[in-house]
Subunit: 158 residues, 2 copies
């Protein structure tokens, strides 16, 4: 496992380097491995794509799932050149990833201006205390749609 | 603000309904509003796109940013038919959204099988205690890339 981890992490680091050379966004790369093969690749493209969600891990996950034609990848391993932010780590859980290997830590990313500590703190607050002003509206109308979905013959549970 | 909120939430609910009728994924819709106009729309397409990140809010954010050609949207408001999961809420912070209006609550989503409570709990654990097995490897190599990025004339800070 160790030698495999090293080879796959080197690929993630090479993708990070490619992104730096292209000027596509932050210096981060990731690959997703299933059954010993890379099936998804990504590097940060926030700037290039004007997409705040285009982190390396998100693009690697989306690339892998599109390739596998599945939205869950149990048994897969995500290699990323930097510890995932809460968005990317949550995405890893939604994808049912089994293992995560990262290189730089969240504190290293913060030292070059990519801090996710505020986001982590916000997630733990109640909605009333968050920086993003939050309001609940029309709960019942959404529940009616939930009921419609439960009755739908097109429903796919996941 | 109240009447505007109602009109925009109704649009988010209509998108959720469209997704249900198409069988694209979970029963969730969202719109992103800037300066009183909808500039991004999304509904859950996890099943259709084989993309575990294709939540309604993520697609609305990506649509809005592509339209605005910017990866930050300060002053914008996200309307979503259900309280965002940690992935989507984190994405809202990366996008610099100002306000969030949601209809159903996270507990309502859990009642129809879309629970994010495990993810929330995992985010608060140390890496050693998480369900996703986690390892750090090659930190120094990633730090060398961070240094390369800091020196790059293609660097765009964000």
């Amino acid at each position: 496992m160790d030698q495999q981890d090293e080879a796959f992490m080197i690929e993630a680091l090479m993708l990070a380097q490619r992104g730096i050379e292209l000027g596509d966004g932050g210096p981060f790369g990731a690959v997703l491995v299933l059954d010993g093969r890379i099936i998804g690749r990504g590097w940060n493209q926030v700037v290039k794509l004007n997409d705040p969600t285009a982190h390396a891990e998100m693009l690697a996950i989306r690339d892998a799932c599109a390739h596998a034609k599945r939205f869950h990848l149990p048994g897969s391993v995500l290699y990323t050149s930097c510890e995932p932010c809460p968005m990317c780590l949550s995405a890893a859980y939604w994808t049912h990833i089994e293992r995560l290997v990262y290189a730089a830590g969240a504190e290293d990313a913060a030292a070059i201006g990519f801090s996710d500590s505020e986001i982590k703190a916000e997630l733990d607050k109640s909605t009333d205390d968050r920086v993003i002003i939050t309001r609940q509206l029309f709960r019942e109308r959404s529940l009616a749609l939930f009921a419609q979905w439960r009755e739908s013959d097109k429903r796919v549970d996941y």
